[in-house]
Subunit: 467 residues, 3 copies
């Protein structure tokens, strides 16, 4: 009975901690909504934040009916492409002492996060019913399949598979790849199909502008609030990912605590590198020092997305290095998108796609021997990050190979579904909102009224640019 009592205590601890973490991850939705709201013009605020909210509502329903089953409803002894049991949570069992219910909550919150990454990118020009369809498709099918293959024991890429890939499997601690790359690549596909906002890269005759128009968002305060809420939620996102749902496994406090420390360090470094390097570049070019808030904020978010994959088992100094590189990746990819005339209203692609990809690779480069041994609970585990392998003269590329395969699988699978999906919508004219609607703002046309009232006699030119 001592052992039973101990097991029941372990379950209780898990349930309480997962609920804490899930709540924080849930609050990231408020973070996304505030970032998106702050980044758009006043005439599109309602439209943008409703997309975030629909992601919450839709994903919980999609995840209840099918998503969770597709993700985790497989036989742990066998490898399968998709789960097929426990639809409508019909097989939840009180003997699991609540851990299964808590696990659903945590995983739902993750799914909602993956979906809502896309909301901001499409802001100010996308039809509403399209967004509803997209949201259900992603959280009900595309994302769960990725989760199944990487995080459930039945997945062929999973480290808990009985025969993991290359003897290791793809390691994605809290989802740099599973969540952020999935959301990010979807955002990239969608914005390519959708085209840029009117007047962002081209003038009204379709001639390319010499300098892209910037469209500054209507509230930096809300964007800052959103960024800090996201960071706050990320503590739950990363720490909660340390908890295994296996009934007989104990919680590892070292991984939990370390994850939060590395999360902080990577985000901070990335934010400050992006802020200062941007300052340096601009000052060299123009002589004027410009402290760009969005560089600091989105830089920090990129650092968060990139440490997500490895935060439980890299050393703090490595978190600093990963973060510093994230800051540069953010600046570079944000510039690249502009050159390619891809319009991303909230920089979700630099943050989540580029940050997430770097995060998946960083696992393969920086995972420390003592970190991984502790993570796998196996003192003989010997496939480390490539830099360590290199340092020891072995150059073992096994882990890095797993990461590369996993990353390609995520990109390929998401593209396989999302390219035809968005192309079909585009072809039938269901993707982009009407040109005039876009000019006067989507709030008036889709939501009945707008808090934004242009003064009398405002020109279309001015409407296009400033509000």
């Amino acid at each position: 009975t001592n052992i039973e009592m101990e097991e029941s205590n372990q379950s209780l601890h898990k349930v309480l901690f997962i609920i804490f973490c899930s709540s924080l991850v849930f609050l990231m939705q408020a973070g996304f909504a505030m970032v998106c709201s702050g980044c758009v013009r006043k005439k599109n605020v309602q439209n943008t934040i409703l997309k975030n909210f629909i992601d919450v509502l839709g994903s919980s329903i999609a995840f209840f009916f099918v998503g969770y089953s597709f993700a985790f409803g497989g036989d742990p002894e066998k490898t399968s492409f998709i789960g097929t049991t426990n639809f409508l949570l019909s097989e939840m069992d009180y003997n699991a002492l609540g851990v299964d219910y808590a696990h659903w909550l945590f995983q739902f919150a993750f799914a909602a996060t993956a979906a809502t990454i896309v909301a901001g990118t499409l802001a100010e020009r996308c039809q509403m019913r399209t967004y509803l369809m997209y949201s259900m498709l992603l959280t009900g099918f595309v994302y769960p399949v990725i989760v199944h293959n990487i995080w459930s024991p039945s997945g062929f890429l999973s480290i808990s598979n009985q025969n993991p890939l290359f003897g290791v499997g793809m390691i994605d601690f809290a989802g740099s790849g599973v969540v952020h790359v999935t959301g990010g690549i979807t955002a990239l596909i969608a914005t390519y199909m959708l085209g840029p906002r009117k007047g962002r890269f081209y003038d009204e005759r379709g001639v390319k502008l010499e300098t892209p128009e910037a469209f500054p968002g209507h509230s930096k305060s809300l964007q800052m609030l959103g960024t800090l809420l996201l960071w706050f939620g990320w503590f739950g996102f990363n720490a909660g990912s340390a908890v295994s749902v296996d009934a007989d496994s104990n919680m590892n406090p070292v991984i939990i605590a370390k994850a939060t420390v590395n999360t902080t360090l990577s985000a901070s470094t990335s934010g400050i590198v992006a802020l200062l390097f941007h300052l340096f570049l601009i000052e060299r070019q123009t002589g004027e020092p410009v402290y760009k808030l969005s560089a600091a904020m989105n830089g920090a978010l990129t650092g968060l997305a990139s440490i997500t994959g490895s935060c439980g088992f890299v050393e703090p100094w490595a978190a600093i290095v990963i973060g510093a590189i994230s800051g540069l990746i953010y600046l570079g990819s944000e510039r690249l998108l502009e050159i390619l005339c891809l319009d991303d209203a909230v920089d979700a692609i630099p943050v989540h796609l580029c940050g997430g990809m770097w995060g998946v690779l960083a696992v393969g480069l920086f995972s420390s021997p003592r970190g991984l041994k502790n993570y796998f609970g196996d003192d003989d585990f010997n496939h480390y990050g490539w830099f360590y392998a290199w340092g020891q003269g072995s150059g073992d590329f096994t882990l890095m190979s797993c990461q590369l395969v996993g990353l390609l699988c995520i990109l390929a699978w998401t593209a396989l579904i999302m390219v035809p999906f968005f192309f079909t919508l585009y072809y039938f004219g269901m993707l982009r909102s009407d040109g005039l609607e876009e000019l006067v703002g989507l709030d008036v046309s889709y939501h009945g009224y707008s808090n934004f009232q242009p003064s009398q006699g405002v020109s279309a030119q001015s409407l296009r640019k400033h509000y």
Copy 2:
């Protein structure tokens, strides 16, 4: 000593978890403040949010001096109408290992919630000193008596009473009735006495308008933020209610985890049903699709208020059904209020009163056998939700009867105190602010200045309508 150690650990777990939950419930005050701020016109922002803040300040003081004692200061062996010990927390005991202090914090946060439900309804036209009086009365006396009778072992409606009503007692898990109906019925009484805002239903000559004027709030972003903060806080509200303060009872992780899952499902379903059904109705009538944000947001909040009573022991599919009906209840009751010319600036009556009433009844309809057996820790418990009883051919109405009696008691008791109270204020002219004050906004007249500055030459007509 093994048992002692275990007991002290249980106390520690309880304290830590209750503090987590209480913090979340406390943050609901920020949620209410942001919802209220977003829903009012710019000229009344300060006035509105100060009411929310006064609820926090006042309720903690009222709850310290008398409220907590009235609620829980009874002899658990005897039935009493009101508690009479532990005023000023003078009988808090270190031997309770902190559970009693934590319990106070949790219960205070609940009281503040009940009080602040009313703040938004009365927005834009209520005197400030009146609100102070109301807030102290509710949290110091009216609400504690309800808590005493339903949640303390000395209450005649309580399930932990030694001779519970009809052998069962009224089941209100986290307070659909105790908190939300109490706040909601008070809001209804108050808005009836106070009358609608100028220009909402009647023009300046007192002639009824053909279409009520809508008075859109000044910031949908803040309303969305508030809604998500409320949802976040609701995890603490519902999960924390699973924790018994009895020193010798263990925490039940199944109830805790299930409560959070059901909370999510009901809210999501309710929000999406309200959004889409409203879209369908409007599109049929006008041909224009209108995605109404407040339908989605307030729909979700109604789903939260209604699952509150039963989230620990209904099955997830039932949470979906309860939520779907909540969405319809929200739309219907919001429309009904308009027809009755009752002005509710933030829809607190549809959300909390109607949602809460439905929540109390839903306990009697949907509570599952395995859920209640687990909740009561008694495998022989056999008064289930009416639908289950029906399905088993017994048609046992015992539980439903308890719910109906409990609901009527809450409504009757609150009305008994609040009708004379608000009538007296009305009679002595202490209820409604001056007509001119209302026109220029309460911020200028009560708070010294306003962030809203009308442009020169604005007409009273325009002031009345737009700002």
Copy 3:
């Protein structure tokens, strides 16, 4: 193994609870950012909130490289002025079961809080690069030294020193002195060197205004949100401070729970006293009732800063008294600053410096015998708060003496570094931004654009005053 299991469980509990608390303390940064944003004029919003964000980024890096080592890297057996080990977290040990990592996170969040107290005071007129330097200096050196001397066992003021001062040491439970006085006195020094905003106390010719210009902030909603986020975070701030990092010490649930109750009571009382006493004063002078929001909000924050030092071991009635006095201290010190022509854009000096100083002294006045015995785990501890000592006829001033010495040390040490630092910046013209920049707002000049667009033909006079 039973004992081992118990120890490992204790570590797990500590890690989970510290992470919860650290997350809340981290979210206080969002609170500070929203308070600061709400309190400044629209033209300076970006500049102000970037300072808050830089505090987060900079302090985590400074605390990683040197700050944490300076604070806690000492030999616990010896008294030292500053720590000298564990730079770059190089000596973190998995055998500590994560408690050391969690401790870093908690302490970093505290350092960021200390730094960001200053951000608001300097708003609307300070150069950006200067702020970066200040932030690193405070969190990397000045603050860690104070932490070392008061909270680490090697500190000469510490209660865990082997030979504590006067046999007791300075008691500062969660940092009324360590965090709030340090930040507050820095804010005072900085604002004195920097001078008031243009037009606040003097007109354009340098003639003192009869009545200071008020410069109301651009959003009371954001200020309210920030205040409630700070309060929410303070639960983590105060409750988390009850957790000792000693591996062999158990967590004391009484202290944790009591800390949260006292936190609530002091804040509420202080807020309501400030609101009502201000109302009374103004109504007597002008006949108009003015409910001043910032009095209620900043009053509550002062109550939070002042209960921070003693919340774990004073009785609830004492928390009420401490809070009531805090409310008066806030009103008085805010008035005094105006008389002295010291410009504090967010009232950080009244809240943190005056509230914090009162908090340090309140420990020496109100600490209850049973509270301190419980805190020290020593039934023979007999140096109580002075009022208790007085009541028992002993008049023992030992504890109060420790508090006074500690307070003077904090003030002296911070001034010793900060006065020359800010004077040097002032002397080389690196402190204050250009006069014209200040007039048009710092957002345009430092951050490239502003969300604030003055209408055409606005006069400098008007720009100075209203926006």
